[in-house]
Symmetry: none
Subunit: 541 residues, 2 copies
């Protein structure tokens, strides 16, 4: 996708989940999280992925290093930073701009000041020097063959304060060669009509394609972004699920659906749009955020009907209380009486896994029932396809477990006065007809169990040595019940090449972790052909 391909209908989505989204309270991404999200965004068809601010911390630099090795499908990875500092003689001597170039991305975004009071009181420099900083920084980055996105910070506030100066900052950015000029409502306080009017005025004098960056402080981030598009902007910056500092950034989930389904813009392939809900849940899962059931378009309540009148009317006129077809965004209608099942989804999933199964088969029904039973206990299979595959194989009856648990016991003792702390697990299993009884210590109960289980399996399945747990996430399922509530554990594992995720839930965190661990090992043994060593006739179904 080249910038030159832009037409009036195409709107470019610029995702800043990994940078502005990570400013949200309670959100922390590891480098691995960032890579997983970026790959998902690329697969979905996002145009620009802002990965971080390379000079701000080593984690962001590492992300860009790893990103260089990935063959991106459609996305351009973007490094974020600011114009050079006021005291720097020339951009080539600015360490922060140097870090932007070292990130070796096809595009860079830098922000500069649009507001006179910010120039004077925050930057503590002159209006003229600010213009030079903008122009020279952009020109410098352009001279290194980067696509340059110029973010005009506090643009709407600056424009209200002193329109001529705010416009002048854009003019110098355009002249210096910026490929995009992005109008930022940094404090999130603007109204849609203001954003529309100001964007229209900018579009009259600035020939460079315009973008819009909004925040949700007035609960208007999505509306403000759409108002800018109506006024001529062709790039929208935001985050998945609206993560971001304070009340969050513009929610790209709602923006994408509105642009494509309501405003007739070209944003994402329609078949990708049908994975919008999956994308939203995936990012929540990686960010360890509880999905918002009332999220527009993708929330579990978004097409749930409770009122008797509504349900009645729905039976008579399908669209009577639905603004779009839920399937267009991968969601589904939920009616509290006689909930509709997802047989088609299961059949589709089975096909993906190479399991023979039809929509109408009783097996599909049994799988659905098992999923519903486990989900009621706190399981959640959206982000745990390995556990879903094992569940399907178990229900289909052609699955042979690799070992059988007879007993485990965990003991955790802490005597702070003697600085003594020990965690020990014993595991008794039956594997290939033999009983194994092992004991191991660990840093915590799950680690101790993991060590003991591996010791017990080592002889029968030496390949398990390759498995590493790469992530471990725990979430309470019904938070109103405190420590008595069900606890969901997600375990991500890798053998150095593949990665897979398993899930389990229990009121006991150790039990849930154990079940997810066992699934992870079983899945690996299944994939690595472990069953053949055990019983050649039962080899891969």
């Amino acid at each position: 996708m080249k910038v030159e391909d832009r037409t009036i209908e195409q709107i470019f989505i610029y995702d800043t989940t990994l940078r502005d989204g990570a400013q949200a309270e309670g959100i922390h991404f590891s480098v691995g999280d960032k890579i997983r999200i970026a790959r998902k965004l690329d697969e979905f068809g996002i145009s620009y992925i802002e990965g971080g601010w390379p000079s701000s911390n080593p984690k962001d630099s590492q992300f860009f290093w790893e990103a260089q090795k990935i063959p991106w499908r459609t996305a351009k990875v973007v490094a974020f930073g600011s114009t050079c500092r006021p005291e720097v003689e020339e951009p080539a001597k600015d360490a922060q701009l140097a870090a932007l170039l070292e990130a070796a991305t096809p595009a860079v975004a830098i922000f500069g000041k649009s507001s006179l009071s910010h120039v004077r009181e925050v930057l503590r420099t002159t209006p003229e020097r600010n213009l030079q900083m903008i122009a020279s920084s952009i020109a410098y980055l352009k001279s290194h063959q980067r696509e340059v996105i110029y973010d005009a910070e506090h643009f709407f506030d600056g424009y209200k304060e002193e329109p001529a100066y705010a416009l002048e900052t854009l003019r110098v950015a355009a002249e210096a060669g910026a490929d995009w000029i992005v109008l930022c409502d940094t404090n999130g306080g603007s109204l849609p009509t203001e954003v529309g009017r100001v964007t229209r005025e900018v579009a009259k004098v600035i020939r460079v394609p315009l973008g819009i960056h909004t925040h949700n402080d007035g609960e208007l981030a999505v509306a403000n972004a759409l108002a800018a598009v109506e006024a001529g902007a062709t790039q929208i910056q935001g985050t998945i699920n609206g993560y971001g500092e304070r009340t969050g950034n513009c929610n790209l989930i709602s923006v994408i659906a509105n642009l494509q389904l309501k405003m007739g813009k070209k944003v994402i392939d329609p078949e990708r749009l049908a994975t919008l809900r999956e994308l939203s849940l995936f990012v929540d899962e990686v960010a360890n955020q509880r999905p918002n059931p009332r999220a527009p378009f993708v929330g579990s309540c978004a097409f749930a009907h409770k009122g008797g009148t509504h349900v009645n009317a729905l039976r008579k006129l399908l669209r009577s209380y639905e603004h779009i077809n839920p399937e267009a965004v991968g969601n589904r209608r939920r009616i509290l009486v006689g909930e509709l099942s997802g047989r088609a989804n299961i059949a589709w999933k089975a096909k993906e896994l190479g399991l023979e199964m039809e929509d109408r088969s009783p097996k599909t029904k049994r799988i659905l029932e098992e999923i519903k039973r486990l989900e009621a206990r706190g399981y959640e299979f959206e982000a745990a396809e390995a556990s879903l595959e094992l569940l399907m194989r178990r229900v289909l009856g052609n699955y042979q477990p690799f070992f059988r648990l007879l007993e485990y016991h965990v003991s955790i003792r802490s005597l702070p006065v003697r600085a003594y702390e020990v965690c020990e697990a014993t595991v008794k299993i039956e594997v290939q007809g033999k009983r194994r009884y092992t004991v191991a210590e660990g840093d915590g109960p799950v680690h101790a169990l993991d060590n003991a289980l591996r010791a017990a399996l080592q002889e029968a399945y030496p390949q398990i040595e390759r498995i590493r747990l790469t992530d471990y996430k725990v979430r309470i399922v019904d938070p109103s019940r405190g420590t008595e509530a069900s606890i969901r554990v997600l375990v991500e594992s890798s053998d150095g090449t593949a990665r897979w995720t398993t899930v389990a839930a229990s009121t006991n965190i150790v039990e849930a972790s154990w079940l997810a661990l066992v699934d992870s090992i079983e899945f690996y043994l299944l994939r690595s052909g472990g069953s053949r060593e055990m019983d050649p006739e039962k080899a891969r179904d």
Copy 2:
């Protein structure tokens, strides 16, 4: 407040939390809840309070009965229903309209159909009969001296389908004497520019004051309501915190703040507006909903600042990253202390907590060092202000712990073949000079420890019975190390009024949970003055 007092600047707020809000999944109000919320809304200065649909259930009828006994300050209580049924000869014979009159409210709201396809396929009557139903129902209610609010259901969809008919329904409503005509975006799928344009066209031909009723299916409910106000509507219908079917109704909290602080409209007395956050939290509390920390204007994150750049700029220019003064809506600025923080943040935080400390004092340095030491082990304080306060008090040296742990032991045993699972904890502590040794079972190790610790503390601090764990979050800190990695636990607790969050990290999840639990209890004892019972000289510093 009389309808005749309306001027161009006054916007009337119509709350339907008790009716449309109660359609939300997971929201159930008792009659007592409804009365409490209604009184709070009245005290706040809401103009109309829709109490329910009297004929739909006995609970709503009882609400109206009790409402008659209350001396309302400014609000008019409204009973909600629909036009008469198609098959009824005359409105006087319609049971549902009779129930509306029996509710004995000063105002009634009835909805009618604006969309031809709804008339034909849902009501299953003729367009002409629908017009008669609207006219005769309104005339009947007017003849009983009610203020009549006519809700034009599916108005925007109906207008897009057949504008002449949709307008005709409004015309007959106006002629029949409706005091208000409310344009409803029932399916929540309209865009702000559409709502503005259609409302403007309606205002050209309908002389009756207009209202707007929106839903959040496109994440545009607030923007749509504001667009209607800009086009001439003077009543906004919505719910507190945006509760409602599917994705919810228009959030009145954001509407009120935007109208008054941004658009210069007269809505609520400014001193009442400063209780907006309190109103939001009160309704969440009664509805048993967890407050949304990212809620615009009133959420705990709405004025929280994390990025180092932002905090620096804030010190230089107070408004640099804030769209309004947080105090105008009863909220406050929060500086998050985390990886990016420096001394300035700590000093700011200490001041917020009422602890005397200067930027340059050696105490500030010691606190920062302790924060960094713990963060390197996996702690994270930005979302755990209670632990941060305890840390600061501990470092400052004026803190006396409420008890001392000597030993704990947790045992978890699982024998799946016998369906046997047990989790048991023993705790040995020293409290008020005595040793306590208790044992308890639990659903999991943390629950068992919690039970044992509470049993040990019960006698010395009976107030701990009030503490409930309201959330429990676990996150692995360095996922590249798998189960050996450090595990961070966040515990949120409440005593029914206040909420506080504590944090701890360890490679052992049970140890981390234990430490966070202990912090939570210590914080509560500190705040509830527990230390005085223990040692009067060491009372609150």
